[in-house]
């Protein structure tokens, strides 16, 4: 019993330490990538303290953290203090707790203390409803945003909170539909089981490209990243729901946002890109009960590389796509992503039920055919296109009478 608790605590310590460091360094990466895309250099000065070493600006996250901690933590007089303090704690706690069931590798061999079972690289191994748990916690994170916006008692914060709640409720539906098709194909809600299913069936983004697209778009919206960052668009809402926050509370909000992005990347990689799996047997035998050190490390590295690639994609998209208008955002969720998600789910469920004997190539063809056909159909229907041109066929008096 003690051993189990100790093992879980060590994993939690590793994971929280790793995630917080990763979030800090992803902020640096985001700033460097933003600078590179804009033909600048980005923060490259801060290195080791007390030395002249610069190390490509790797000291910047530390300096940022110290700056946030030493800034005045101002609480305006007009806020609801309890909720104002609770919101950042809630959002960070929910963002971190979601990682309890997310595997950050496969397993490592039991070479110490006379253990016989391999150590699974997930805090809570074998949770059968892992996917639902992640989904529930990402919904709780919305509470942090809404509470922060509401408790601030400021119209910009409030608008940001409202927008966030509307957006997240809208995009949870296509997100769920995207997950559902994968779960039906894998036959389990356990994230490790979903990875194992993909090692035999093939990666889900090849088999279900439509579901992949729906899920990625919904994940961008859930993480409130550009082009869906309406809850905090600076041009309209000052800072959105965290306008009134400063110091370490603001830092908690910002870290939680990056953790959402990391969670989204983990889910994209685990659900659709095979998790730690690499083709051609590079990651050892997926069905084996226990693995050696080499495949264990290869699996961890493969997962990390895939996740970093997805995060870099998140960051590059930020500077490629303009922000949606709010009505376009809603139209995209309800008129495009929801029907596409339903179509994908119906097709995949049918294939799963009746196409058990089909080869992987045929399944892929069905997936890609569904993707192309439904995407072209949606484009032809054009629900996102609003015709704002002036009506010259009508006489002004006719327009007046209509108004």
């Amino acid at each position: 019993m003690t051993a189990i608790i100790l093992e879980a605590l060590i994993k939690i310590a590793l994971l929280i330490g790793g995630l917080m460091t990763a979030a800090a360094y992803f902020v640096l990466l985001e700033r460097r990538i933003a600078a590179w895309i804009q033909d600048r250099r980005g923060p490259n000065r801060v290195g080791m303290p007390l030395t002249k070493l610069r190390l490509f600006g790797l000291g910047q996250p530390l300096a940022d953290g110290v700056k946030f901690i030493f800034k005045e933590e101002y609480t305006p007089a007009h806020v609801n203090k309890v909720l104002f303090v609770a919101a950042p704690i809630l959002i960070l706690a929910a963002a971190l707790a979601a990682f309890a069931v997310i595997p950050f590798g496969s397993m490592i061999p039991p070479d110490w203390f006379g253990r016989t079972e391999p150590i699974k690289l997930v805090v809570a191994p074998g949770v059968d409803v892992g996917m639902i748990y992640v989904f529930a916690l990402s919904s709780i994170a919305v509470y942090g945003v809404i509470l922060g916006g509401w408790a601030s008692n400021n119209k910009y914060s409030f608008l940001g909170g409202l927008r966030s709640s509307a957006q997240l409720i809208a995009y949870e539906v296509p997100l769920g539909l995207g997950i559902l098709a994968v779960v039906v194909a894998a036959g389990s809600l356990d994230l490790e089981a979903i990875i194992h299913a993909q090692t035999t069936q093939g990666w889900c983004f090849l088999l279900q490209p439509l579901g992949f697209l729906v899920f990625v778009v919904a994940a961008f919206a859930e993480a409130a990243r550009l082009p869906f960052d309406l809850p905090e668009c600076e041009q309209e809402l000052v800072g959105g729901y965290h306008t009134e926050y400063s110091g370490i509370k603001l830092l908690l909000f910002l870290v939680a946002e990056f953790l959402h992005m990391i969670t989204a990347s983990f889910l994209i990689v685990i659900l659709f890109m095979g998790g730690w799996h690499l083709p051609w047997g590079l990651t050892g035998d997926p069905a084996a009960e226990s693995i050696g050190w080499v495949p264990a490390i290869v699996r961890i590295v493969a997962l990390a590389v895939k996740i970093i690639a997805v995060i870099v994609f998140f960051m590059v998209v930020r500077w490629s796509w303009p922000r949606f208008r709010f009505d376009q955002l809603m139209a995209l969720a309800w008129k495009v992503m929801l029907p596409l998600g339903v179509v994908n789910f119906v097709v995949m469920a049918t294939v799963e039920q009746f196409g058990g004997s089909l080869s992987t190539g045929v399944k892929m063809a069905i997936g890609w055919g569904t993707f192309v056909l439904s995407w072209v159909a949606i484009a032809a229907a054009g629900p996102l296109i609003a015709d704002n041109r002036a009506r010259h066929d009508l006489h002004p008096s006719q327009i007046d009478s209509q108004v």
Binding site: I33, A35, W36, I37, Q38, D39, R40, R41, V316, V317, W319, S320, W321, W375, V376, A379, A380, G382, L384, I385, N388, R389, A390, H392, H395, P396
Partner: protein, 181 residues
């Protein structure tokens, strides 16, 4: 304005083509542009100058408006004839001249004291334009710093030393007394 006026040409927003309606081709196009910039920047083709290590390249030092200098003639005397035209032209009133009778034959007056408050100066270059003998000129020295306000009030000796410092890089507009030809 009547909307049915035949004089009016209505410019219509074009209809979206299939590629535009499909969104993804346009997205790929945008992403390609972004990646091109990313690739060039990672290869080192950025426009940023890493300032303290790398000096910015001033393309036309003769027309750059930096720190002032007081020019000297061939005999090493100050060229200024204390006519006060620069002080009159200066919109920031940062030039302060005390003119006295000249000890030399070729002019009536010369500046006994000539001070410019570099902190008041707005570097508009109107003193340079006003000067009839091309005695005051703006150099391309851009990194003017000091530790006190007093230090930033440049007197005649300081302005003449700026000339000694910059005369080889930036030649005077006219050599002799009497303005540009």
């Amino acid at each position: 304005m009547k909307t049915d006026d035949p004089e009016i040409t209505w410019v219509e927003e074009p209809e979206l083509g299939l590629a535009g309606k499909m969104y993804l081709p346009m997205f790929a196009q945008g992403l390609t542009t972004t990646f091109k910039h990313l690739k060039n920047s990672v290869a080192g083709k950025t426009v940023t100058v890493s300032y303290p290590e790398q000096e910015p390249q001033i393309d036309a030092p003769l027309i750059y408006r930096g720190v002032h200098r007081l020019n000297k003639d061939e005999q090493g005397r100050v060229k200024c004839v204390a006519c006060f035209l620069c002080a009159t032209a200066c919109p920031a009133h940062c030039i302060d001249i005390i003119g006295v009778e000249s000890p030399w034959e070729d002019r009536e007056k010369y500046p006994e004291s000539f001070t410019i408050d570099e902190l008041r100066c707005i570097y508009c270059g109107m003193c340079e334009e006003a000067c009839p003998v091309d005695a005051i000129e703006l150099t391309s020295l851009y990194n003017l710093t000091g530790r006190s306000r007093e230090e930033m009030v440049f007197d005649k000796e300081k302005l003449l030393s700026v000339f000694d410092e910059t005369k080889d890089r930036e030649p005077m507009q006219s050599a002799g007394l009497g303005g540009s030809p």
